[in-house]
């Protein structure tokens, strides 16, 4: 890895529909370890935003604390970002979204940030179906404090020092499903062919979109015996390919109707999923839970889109929030004035 990011860009870089090049979605140079899975996720987010042609300044990035939560610095340098408090990104994202419902919110968290210190906020965020994309870069360990097991470490996984994890790991994707998440996916940082379309679909989805991304820690959790190493993940990966066609694009690829399933999102975009042998259905929450549990029992990591309900009411709808963002309202809309106050005084005599 390099410590100085070259400013030079190819003069003829292709632009997206809104005239931005992929470089417009770059962030600062990563300070994570060379080979960290998280950098691949950053790249996938960058590419997804570029391809979906979302204007960088209309995106807001939020994160908690940890290696994962440093990531937003390393993509979308033209977007506002907020690296908040450990485990508390969900609440910050909620407040931000209530203030301005018009932006696209991407939250990046880690397994410690979400499954341990942030568990309380996470499940409540899921319940509220906040309109945002929530990515967990899941490596089963605490990187910044040098490799302690996290709550998503699988039972029996061996830490770098040789200790065997005696506790059951928390499966965040299953948990999100149980708590009523409207979009649940799992992916692998090394599978950009799947991760990018998933992120694009998540951003197009109106409601809470959760993506659990297995993202190996090259420094503390990439050895033999770890269930979240690159080698182990690759060996046990059971991926379901995903393709994403945004609302405006013409569908050019032809899919054999027997092998794929198309799911239309709220904004008109379409996700194409390759059907697995047993027939994938993304609209059945119970079946999705069962499928994930079965894969887990077999020691496999099932990736792809697990569940999607494009019509579930999001928090804005539940609160019956006005369409004008709250942060755009001025004195006239907000302050009832002295005449009203006079009548309130009358009622208090």
């Amino acid at each position: 890895m390099s410590y100085v990011k070259p400013k030079f860009r190819h003069p003829n870089l292709p632009t997206n529909r809104r005239g931005y090049t992929v470089a417009d979605y770059d962030g600062a140079i990563s300070t994570l370890c060379a080979g960290c899975g998280h950098d691949s996720i950053s790249a996938a987010i960058r590419n997804a935003c570029f391809k979906s042609a979302i204007e960088p300044h209309r995106i807001a990035k939020v994160s908690g604390i940890g290696c994962s939560s440093k990531m937003p610095t390393y993509f979308l340098g033209k977007s506002h970002g907020f690296n908040s408090v450990h485990g508390r990104m969900p609440s910050v994202a909620t407040g931000a979204s209530l203030a301005n419902r018009d932006l696209t919110y991407i939250g990046v968290s880690g397994d410690g940030d979400t499954a341990s210190i942030g568990m309380g906020q996470f499940v409540h965020l899921v319940r509220r179906n906040l309109n945002m994309t929530y990515i967990v870069a899941n490596n089963g360990c605490y990187g910044l404090t040098k490799g302690q097991d996290s709550a998503t470490a699988d039972i029996g996984s061996i830490a770098k020092g040789g200790a065997v994890n005696p506790f059951e790991g928390i499966d965040l994707a299953s948990l999100a499903l149980l708590q009523g998440a409207s979009f649940v996916a799992r992916s692998f940082s090394g599978d950009k062919g799947q991760l990018e379309p998933l992120i694009r679909a998540a951003m197009a989805h109106k409601g809470f979109a959760f993506i659990d991304v297995v993202s190996p820690c090259v420094t503390f959790n990439n050895h033999a015996g770890s269930t979240k190493s690159y080698a182990e993940t690759r060996e046990h990966l059971a991926p379901m390919p995903v393709d994403f066609v945004p609302m405006r694009d013409e569908i050019t690829t032809t899919y054999d109707p027997g092998t794929t399933q198309a799911v239309t999102l709220h904004d008109g975009s379409v996700i194409h999923l390759q059907k697995a042998a047993n027939g994938v259905k993304t609209d059945d929450r119970t079946a999705a839970l069962l499928r994930m549990q079965e894969a887990r029992d077999e020691g496999n990591i099932l990736t792809g889109l697990m569940f999607l309900d494009p019509n579930q009411a999001d928090l804005n709808q539940v609160l019956n929030l006005a369409t004008t963002p709250l942060n755009k309202l001025g004195k006239d809309e907000l302050c009832p004035g002295s005449k009203v106050l006079k009548s309130i005084n009358e009622g208090l005599r």
Binding site: H57, S84, V92, T94, G95, A99, D102, L321, I344
Partner: protein
């Protein structure tokens, strides 16, 4: 026996069982006195319980308009056998005691130095009403009726109030009025009415009371209304006594005043969070994104919010927190009042932090300061904590009417819009171009290529780039201190009054008294008591932290300064010692931390003891003899 006498000047206390409907009957009593134009201050002293425990309601009637607690009880109304023995003992000699004599009073409880009135409340209600719930509820209304006869409450006013309260429910009105009449009739037939302590409209009242158009309102409702007028759009909270009614009231007003006329949709969002950490996180997120947001909490919630308060201080985000203080530490006495979060709020969070605090003393100040706090939070880009307490928040206070200047604009502070970013010569989120410590912020989504930055709780340079350089860090935190200095000019000034003229001055000492919030009313009263005794005391009511320089000056100008507050450790005194250049010896604490609001008599007594007045010596002598 000499009976206590007085027109429009006494204390009545009601002893009830909670959950029996006594609160609304007692409120009826207090509101009737208020409607008669006589200054009244009711206080609910209630347990942390829904049903079955003792609860009290203390009503002070004061012709001079003193709204704090005086101390002592002249008239006790007791319908709770659990607390009866202590309640009887609490009545001042020459006072009055009204009780339910359906069951006879134990002989050892009888006192011959007070006047006792037995009314068979339970028996009367069992006889008159078939519905068991009504039998219980209306018992309370019967004693209000009896009180009307005993102390001369205008019966028409009581009836009007019942009509207002139960508008459209004729049956309820008639059964309530019947209960009132029963009580009234029983009292006139069996007792000599009215008593030497009684009410009379327009008699003996201080001129400022006669001329005023006061309202009766609690501080929590006023603070909520302030949030509406201050332009708050996001409220995130977690239920906790005694702050819950702030958000309840905000919701009520918002549903009325903040619905978009065209669509019926809401121009506000209220989220009941999973805990106080989350509530504060939502406020921080909304403030970062340019909405005016607030939360309301109390002690334990403040502790949980401390981490986020540190972030908001360091990352410079507007936050409004309404802290309705109660007795701590831990769960403490959750339904009792204190001013014991002063230090926890002033320095909330780890590392070097200081927060702007506002100390309202009346409902109208709760309203004004709550509205103002949204301007201050955005102007100063920092948390602003409104420090009220249970006494002010949950009790009804007679207050000047709420006022609003329609010319006032929302002051959003230094926020650059797209045009501002295009014309700015050089912009850095933490670049202090104006020298006041306050920098220009930008909101997400403003400009396609300019103004984006990363907000973080970690150290950064002036351009919001992550930095672990000691130089950058020191420059940043020193600028935050500069900003805190700037805040002195923005926050409400302390209130002083011209020196009190004393006929025969009995001390050479220059005495001062400092206080804030709900300690103010009884403090002013105590100061007048002492002035009558020949001890003039200058007063300063602190209304904000950081302290204005006048606070320093006030202390320097006096030989001894009493700091009157409601906590054990003299927290305001400590804060003053910390922040001002003061010799600690000069500051004398006058404290009360029993959970019930401080009284004027207590304050006067403590001051007398310290300065050695004649009256204090007499009291000490009496004690010695006893």
């Amino acid at each position: 026996m000499k009976q206590i006498e007085g027109v429009n000047d006494f204390v009545v206390k009601f002893a009830n069982v909670n959950g029996t409907g006594s609160a609304s009957a007692n409120h009826l009593f207090a509101k009737a006195i208020f409607r008669m134009g006589i200054p009244v201050s009711p206080r609910n002293i209630f347990p942390s319980n829904i049903q079955g425990l003792p609860t009290w309601y203390e009503v002070r009637v004061s012709k001079n308009g003193y709204l704090g607690r005086r101390g002592g009880v002249d008239f006790m109304v007791c319908v709770n056998p659990q607390s009866m023995e202590k309640d009887i003992a609490a009545v001042a000699p020459g006072g009055y005691f009204l009780y339910d004599n359906t069951k006879p009073l134990a002989p050892h409880m009888k006192r011959d130095d007070i006047t006792m009135f037995g009314i068979p409340l339970t028996e009367m209600c069992m006889r008159e009403y078939a519905n068991p719930r009504l039998q219980q509820l209306l018992k309370n209304v019967v004693y209000v009726g009896a009180m009307a006869a005993l102390i001369d409450i205008d019966f028409r006013v009581l009836k009007d109030l019942l009509n207002d309260q139960f508008k459209g429910k004729e049956k309820l009105i008639s059964s309530n009025v019947h209960a009132l009449e029963m009580g009234y009739q029983y009292a006139t037939e069996n007792f000599q009415c009215p008593l030497p302590i009684r009410l009379e409209s327009g008699v003996n009242l201080a001129s400022h009371i006669l001329e005023s158009d006061h309202i009766l309102m609690n501080g929590n409702t006023a603070a909520a209304l302030g949030a509406i007028y201050g332009g708050a759009t996001v409220a995130a909270w977690y239920p906790i006594t005694p702050s819950t009614s702030v958000v309840d009231a905000f919701a009520k007003y918002a549903e009325r005043m903040r619905i978009d006329a065209g669509t019926g949709k809401k121009n506000f969002a209220i989220v009941q969070a999973e805990d106080e950490l989350s509530a504060m996180g939502m406020v921080v997120g909304a403030g970062w994104n340019g909405a005016r947001a607030f939360t309301a909490t109390s002690g334990p919630g403040l502790s949980l919010m401390s981490e986020f308060l540190g972030l908001a201080y360091f990352a410079e985000l507007p936050v409004v927190l309404i802290n309705v203080q109660r007795s701590g530490p831990s769960t403490g006495m959750p339904t009792r009042s204190q001013q014991s979060d002063v230090l926890a709020a002033a320095y909330a969070s780890h590392g070097d932090t200081k927060h702007v605090l506002l100390f309202p003393a009346t409902p109208s100040e709760c309203f004004e300061m709550s509205a103002q706090s949204f301007d201050l939070a955005e102007q100063l880009q920092t948390p602003v904590i409104l420090m009220t307490d249970l006494d002010l928040g949950m009790n009804d206070w007679m207050s000047p009417p709420l006022e609003w200047d329609d010319n006032k604009e929302l002051n959003r502070g230094k926020v650059l819009d797209a045009e501002g970013l295009d014309t700015a010569e050089k912009w850095g989120r933490y670049l202090d171009v104006d020298g006041d410590g306050i920098c220009y912020r930008t909101l997400p989504g403003t400009h396609p290529s300019k103004g984006a930055f990363f907000t973080r709780g970690s150290s950064k340079n002036e351009f919001a780039v992550y930095s672990e350089s000691g130089e950058d860090y020191v420059q940043n935190v020193d600028r935050l201190l500069r900003k805190f200095e700037t805040a002195k000019g923005y926050v409400p000034q302390p209130k002083t009054h011209p020196p009190i003229e004393v006929k025969r001055r009995k001390t050479k000492l220059k005495i001062g008294a400092l206080f804030f919030g709900t300690s103010a009313s009884p403090a002013y009263e105590a100061v007048e008591m002492l002035a009558d005794e020949g001890y003039p005391i200058d007063t300063m009511r602190i209304r904000a932290f950081p302290f204005h320089n006048e606070v320093d000056q006030f202390i320097h100008d006096h030989d001894v300064v009493f700091v009157i507050e409601q906590n054990r450790d003299g927290q305001m005194r400590q804060l003053i010692m910390n922040e001002c250049q003061i010799a600690p010896d000069k500051l004398k604490s006058v404290l009360n931390y029993s959970g019930t609001p401080i009284t004027a008599r207590h304050i006067a007594g403590k001051i007398r003891e310290t300065i050695g007045t004649k009256k204090a010596k007499v009291v000490a002598l009496k004690r010695e003899k006893a």
